[in-house]
């Protein structure tokens, strides 16, 4: 246990001493921070736009566009360059980062002491820059350095919010799991090394085509586990619902909206760019993992009433949907149906972009709620739409998007993935013909449950009567916070109403990744139909709104009681109770209800209810694993006798073994 305590101590240490490092006049420093932030942003945008234009002109995936090579700093190739895949994710990062930073301008100054503010800005910008670094890296070493900075800065940002014992425990789990994932990613790079001799991406790509079968499988599985941990695929998701809710809201927005997509980027890079083609079971693995994550993620989201935790679970669900699309694309590639593969992959990428936008919108919305009411517990909210009209409206747009309602951006990605599933019936392989169309049902169930979940979120938090004094006295958010969320909401609406603006480059990116000759015709169709549907919808809406009517406010009849109180409303828990009742099996593992005596369930003498704080994953999956590691470590301790002669013997034995190896195997 000693070893395990070390990171904890480190966190403790940093947490205790970090804030009061700078002592300066507050306002001037804050202004300077802002100037720097905007300067950095401007630089990032100009770089992005100039590289973007270049990439668009040349339209090539594999050619270097801008190459940054600080290799003198390192003994390894340490290069950055952007190709189209990287560029897409760069746009995704910056599209979310700008509104989040604008939101933070007022959020941060309202919530943190000046000293902490400086740390927060520094870490926040470093966090964004490191994510840019990951997608811009063109060698394994640069990738891993940026990846590690990304993990550590996000952990530091979580720490800034506070460092109580429970938070440190959650943070520890986050660090532990994210590093386990990183280990798998490093290992997958190392598997390449004997075949490519360097970690430069061009060399990896070349080696990927000629990799032996066993190495290919090992590589794929390592990449799947490594990036799956960071993306929050169930059962590797343990850290996600712990780390995301305890971060400051803008950071939660970036972690859920962007950092998870960086993991998706890594997986796409490995599975599609480095390893073209593979057996079909790769695809089924990804597809099933995605389906399980999607279904369980949304079911867990239904059971929690801490808004940020709920959003974190819903991120797991959406990552599940993205992985379903990726899995379908892999299956199609394995069966050489490349146009369908392009559609599925484009769907996954589109959903990544969409999820980045609406999930960061929802997290920022929850930050605005927390700012105004000091709670994100759904049971204490209510009636916020009338008190925070702007936040409420953008939150409604976010909810509509996340449920995949047409005319909002979430629909486009889900639609593309659904269509590609139906396309599975055109394959000649019976397995694919069976599995892919059935996945339509799974995705529909996920969508239906997500609808139930977000009817509850918006309905309970923003509609009806306030359930607490804090919600009663909620006030509108400051301007910068509103501007940030409105930007994201308008992006969600614009992309939902006019998908043509962003669909074509993504489809052609997907096409080049799966080497498809033709663009899937379906995407053309959706970008033609949706604007017409939107126009008709608005016309109908306007027509109906013209209806002449006399309005009057009237008190709701309270069945003869003096008046309605907020306690008579359905609570956050009771709204989803029927759904949870139907899926009780999923939750059963963590709670037990006992009625005594047992033969008379309707007339109990006593009822005992017990719910576990740890999830069943921890108890039945992680605990045995950790116990096993500890047991093995205890066994290994026998080697450590403390006697110097024995250690000398070990050295001699190792030497002899190595010499023998060289003699016979080398």
């Amino acid at each position: 246990m000693r070893v395990l305590e070390c990171p904890l101590r480190l966190i403790n240490f940093v947490g205790r001493f970090s804030p009061p490092v700078f002592v300066q006049t507050e306002i001037a420093a804050a202004k300077r921070c802002l100037t720097r932030a905007s300067l950095l942003l401007a630089t990032m945008f100009s770089v992005a736009i100039s590289t973007g234009c270049n990439a668009g002109d040349r339209g090539l995936l594999n050619s270097e566009v801008r190459r940054l090579d600080p290799s003198v700093l390192a003994p390894f190739p340490f290069t950055f360059s952007l190709d189209r895949l990287g560029l897409f994710f760069l746009v995704l990062i910056l599209a979310v980062a700008l509104p989040v930073l604008i939101f933070s301008v007022s959020y941060v100054s309202r919530h943190y002491t000046p000293a902490r503010q400086k740390w927060l800005w520094a870490l926040l910008l470093l966090f964004i820059a490191s994510m840019v670094g990951v997608v811009a890296a063109s060698s394994g070493f640069a990738f891993l350095v940026a990846w590690e900075i990304m993990s550590l800065t996000s952990a530091g940002l979580i720490l800034l919010e506070g460092s109580s014992g429970e938070r440190r425990h959650n943070l520890f789990i986050y660090l532990l799991m994210t590093h386990a994932g990183t280990a798998a990613v490093i290992a997958s790079f190392l598997v390449f090394l004997p075949h490519s001799h360097t970690l430069d991406f061009t060399a990896l790509r070349a080696a990927g085509a000629t990799l032996p079968h066993g190495a290919r499988i090992a590589l794929f599985l390592l990449a799947f586990v490594g990036f799956g941990t960071k993306a929050g695929i169930i059962p590797l998701h343990l850290w996600l619902p712990r780390a995301h809710p305890i971060a400051p809201s803008p950071v939660s927005a970036l972690m859920s909206g962007v950092m998870l997509k960086i993991a998706v980027y890594g997986f796409v890079r490995f599975a599609f760019d480095f390893l073209p083609g593979g057996p079909a079971w790769f695809g089924y693995l990804v597809l099933i993992a995605g389906a399980v994550s999607g279904l369980l993620g949304v079911l867990y989201a239904l059971a929690v009433h801490d808004l940020k935790r709920l959003l974190a679970y819903s991120s797991i669900e959406n990552i599940g949907i993205i992985y379903m699309g990726l899995g379908a694309a892999l299956i199609f590639t394995a069966h050489d149906a490349r146009t369908w593969a392009a559609l599925a992959l484009a769907g996954a990428l589109v959903h990544s972009l969409n999820h980045a936008l609406f999930k960061s919108l929802l997290f920022l919305g929850s930050g605005a709620i927390a700012d105004s009411t000091h709670t994100v517990d759904l049971e204490k909210l209510g009636g916020l739409q009338r008190r925070m009209p702007v936040t409420g409206s953008v939150f409604l747009i976010g909810c509509c998007s996340i449920m995949g309602l047409p005319l909002f951006n979430g629909f486009i990605g889900e639609w593309m993935i659904l269509r590609s599933f139906i396309g599975g019936s055109t394959l000649v392989n019976t397995n694919a013909q069976l599995v892919l169309p059935l996945m339509v049902g799974v995705l529909a169930l996920i969508g239906g449950l997500a609808a139930a979940c977000f009817v509850r979120v918006y309905g309970v938090a923003f509609l009806g009567r306030p359930r607490s004094a804090e919600a009663e006295n909620a006030h509108a958010s400051p301007r910068a916070m509103r501007v940030g969320t409105v930007m994201l909401a308008s992006a969600c609406m614009a992309m939902g109403v006019w998908p043509g603006i962003f669909l074509r480059p993504i489809v052609s990116l997907a096409q080049s990744l799966v080497r498809a000759a033709d663009a899937p015709p379906e995407t053309l169709m959706i970008s033609h139909v949706i604007p017409w549907v939107a126009a008709a919808f608005i016309l109908l809406l306007g027509g109906t709104a013209l209806l002449k009517r006399v309005k009057r406010q009237a008190r709701t009849w309270a069945c003869g009681l003096p008046g309605l109180t907020s306690r008579m409303q359905y609570t956050s828990n009771s709204i989803t109770k029927p759904v949870r009742f139907v899926f009780a099996r999923v939750y059963k593992a963590d709670r037990t209800l006992q009625m005594l005596p047992e033969d008379r369930p309707y007339f109990p003498a006593s009822i005992s209810y017990h719910s576990e704080r740890t999830t069943s994953y921890e108890r039945s999956l992680y605990r045995p694993f950790v116990d096993g590691v500890m047991a093995a470590a205890n066994q290994l301790r026998r080697l450590q006798t403390g006697n110097i002669q024995v250690y000398l013997l070990y050295i001699v034995l190792t030497l002899v073994l190595l010499l023998l190896y060289l003699r016979f195997a080398g």
Binding site: L434, V442, L445, A452, G459, R549, R552, Q553, A554, T556
Partner: protein, 313 residues
């Protein structure tokens, strides 16, 4: 000509919707040996409601007033997907069934929000039950349509109808039978009919749809009631179009369309009779038996999809 026909079909579905409700009510009354109201009664109800004032609860936000408009607009848009008289519709060749199903979900979502916004106990109760039914109905609905889509290699309702038109009635496959069964069950749930929801009750223990709309009055209520009537007519139209389109006009001559209209009315009447018999003969299911009922639909539609793969071998 095609556009005119498309608009005519939409007008039929939208304006004829209350009549279908009236006919079902009258048929049920006859089966129960009651006199029953006139079949035109829903129209006069709507007319009356449209001229009353709109009462808004003091706690309600703009969502309360917006929801009926959205529900109404979305259900009208759904009718644009459905071919009735010939195998064409306004959004027929371009719009696919996924878009149609999600448009239905659009209306439902806002209706549930409107129910919660009233701030009373019943709104939340109705919304809670509605999302349960709808989240379980979504999968069998899409899967049933997927089975038909695979069979007819077309994802638009018009394409499915066109394919079925080319087949002889006796050539119809097991896939179609299973998909029809699943979609018929889903249709009962989606339109809030008898074994799932009782459209004539206001008893708090059982109501789903009525619970959600309890706080609405006047024009808002008229829009919601009309929208749910349109939903019924659209779903009946959908079932006819993909499972029994025979009789649709092939050439769009006035005579052909007139004949198609007569055939359509006959088919619709047959479905309404079946609906009335079901509603009179079957008792409403207990709330927690509804998931089992929809589970049957999900199983049947899964079977239909599996059959499509097996039949191709």
């Amino acid at each position: 000509m095609k556009i005119a026909l498309g608009i005519l079909q939409m007008v039929l579905l939208v304006m004829g919707a209350p009549l279908l409700r009236g006919i079902v009510g009258r048929l049920k009354a006859l089966l129960q040996r009651r006199q029953g109201a006139s079949v035109w009664r829903p129209y006069s109800d709507l007319w009356k409601l449209l001229h009353k004032e709109d009462l808004t609860p003091p706690s309600a936000s703009f969502v309360f007033g917006l929801a009926p408009l959205l529900v109404f607009a979305a259900s009208i848009l759904v009718t644009a997907f459905i071919p009735l008289l010939a195998d064409s519709a306004l959004l027929g060749s371009a719009g696919d069934f996924i878009l149609m199903v999600y448009l239905l979900a659009f209306g439902r979502f806002f209706l549930a929000l409107g129910g919660i916004d009233g701030g009373s106990a019943f709104g939340g109760m109705g919304a809670s039950r509605e999302v349960l039914v709808s989240c379980l109905a979504e999968a069998p609905l899409l899967l049933g349509l997927v089975a038909v889509a695979i069979q007819s290699s077309s994802v638009s309702i018009v394409g499915m109808a066109g394919w079925a038109l080319g087949q002889s009635f006796f050539n119809i496959s097991a896939v179609h039978l299973l998909a029809f069964l699943a979609l018929a069950i889903v249709a009962l749930a989606e339109t809030g009919r008898m074994p799932v929801d009782n459209p004539t009750t206001h008893l708090e223990l059982t109501m789903i749809h009525e619970g959600m709309v309890l706080e609405y009055s006047g024009p808002n209520l008229a829009l919601i009631e009309w929208a749910s009537a349109i939903k019924l007519s659209a779903i009946i139209g959908l079932l006819i179009a993909i499972f029994a389109p025979w009789g649709m006009a092939v050439a769009s001559s006035p005579a052909g369309i007139g004949l198609a209209l007569v055939v359509l009315l006959a088919k619709t009447f047959a479905i309404l009779v079946a609906l009335a018999v079901i509603e009179s003969a079957i008792a409403k299911l207990r709330m927690y038996a509804v998931p089992d009922f929809l589970g049957v639909a999900a199983a049947i539609s899964t079977l239909a999809v599996i059959l499509t793969a097996l039949m191709k071998r």
